[in-house]
């Protein structure tokens, strides 16, 4: 953990954010915009697979996926900016239980996406027309996706208040 913290502490980023305090707020605004787009576009697709907005053909969401990927990339970059520029070093994040759980939720979302992509589910799901139901297995994948993104947000918000998490679970 210590060597990871050291590798992710970038003095030039710390100096940059220290010299321009407003940069942190700008990173946060971009991070929140990316989060909103991900929930609107990927969460919207998940909800459709789960049975909401049934008149929408599921394949219609495919057109929005490049934008969702761009939003995710923006969030990875701004997330990296937070970790590398933290005044007390990257250990604040790397050794933070809430941050570790957030990364775990992100990994779950990624593995789930890989299952969706490479199991042939994606092709079958995108062929579902308006008014029709998605296959049951796709609903499981959509539910896991939705829940993992919700947990990414929850643990992301919690990482500034990690003590509350530790207190509640008796540490």
């Amino acid at each position: 953990m210590e060597s990871l913290s050291q590798a992710l502490t970038w003095p030039f980023m710390q100096e940059l954010v220290n010299a321009h305090g407003w940069l942190w707020a700008v990173f946060e605004i971009i991070h929140y915009a990316g989060m909103s787009l991900l929930i609107g576009l990927v969460g919207g697709l998940d909800l459709r697979i789960l049975g909401c907005f049934r008149s929408v053909p599921i394949g219609a969401f495919k057109a929005f996926m490049p934008l969702a990927i761009a939003a995710f990339c923006g969030n990875v970059l701004t997330g990296l900016a937070f970790v590398t520029s933290n005044a007390t070093g990257a250990s604040f994040y790397v050794e933070n239980g809430s941050f570790q759980l957030k990364v775990l939720a992100l990994l779950l979302a990624f593995v789930n996406l890989m299952v969706f992509q490479f199991s042939g589910l994606e092709r079958r799901v995108y062929a579902v027309p308006g008014g029709a139901d998605a296959p049951g297995s796709a609903k499981v994948v959509a539910l896991v996706s939705l829940l993992s993104w919700i947990f990414v947000i929850i643990f992301g918000r919690l990482l500034m208040y990690n003590d509350a998490l530790l207190y509640t679970f008796g540490y």
Binding site: I39, G40, G43, C52, L67, G130, I153, I154, Y167, T168
Partner: protein
């Protein structure tokens, strides 16, 4: 008045309880509601502006239930967050600008629905009138500024520097 709100038992519990289910859970719910309201509003605006044309225009009204759910989450969590920091938030200009932008955003969303999305004959034509496209642009802009100003409520010193006043 703000002081009285902040001293209510519920306000004190939200602000001071060390439990993860107090301030931090309310804060997380606020982020989830925000992402839902902004994300789905953006999805609708993008479709009206010509992206993702596979979504039938007549289906867009079915997304409103999700917007209402996100807004309800944020109304409740927002009131609780305000109660916990009433003297701070209530006197912060950025907070009231954010409130005005959120109200405008929701009014625009309802207006889009009433003027166009609820009109099945109009949406069936597949054509989005220029006035509705303009409304979609205004909606996107309004929510973007609501997000920016909302984040800035956490940075009163930056807002003070931008507008040249002391805090």
């Amino acid at each position: 008045m703000l002081d009285t709100i902040e001293k209510l038992p519920l306000s004190v519990w939200v602000a001071e309880s060390p439990s993860v289910f107090a301030y931090t859970l309310v804060l997380s719910l606020h982020a989830i509601g925000l992402a839902t309201v902004l994300g789905i509003n953006a999805l609708i605006a993008f479709r009206l502006l010509g992206f993702g044309t596979g979504i039938p225009l007549s289906s867009l009204r079915s997304f409103y239930g999700t917007i209402y759910a996100g807004f309800a989450i944020n109304l409740v969590s927002g009131v609780l967050l305000f109660m916990a920091a009433a003297t701070n938030m209530g006197t912060m200009p950025a907070f009231w600008v954010k409130m005005a932008l959120v109200l405008t955003g929701m009014t625009l969303a309802l207006r889009l629905k009433a003027r166009y999305l609820d009109d099945s004959a109009a949406t069936a034509s597949g054509v989005v009138p220029p006035a509705i496209r303009r409304l979609a642009w205004v909606s996107l802009t309004c929510w973007t500024f609501a997000l920016i100003v909302g984040r800035l409520t956490g940075y009163p010193e930056i807002v003070a520097r931008i507008f040249g006043y002391r805090i």
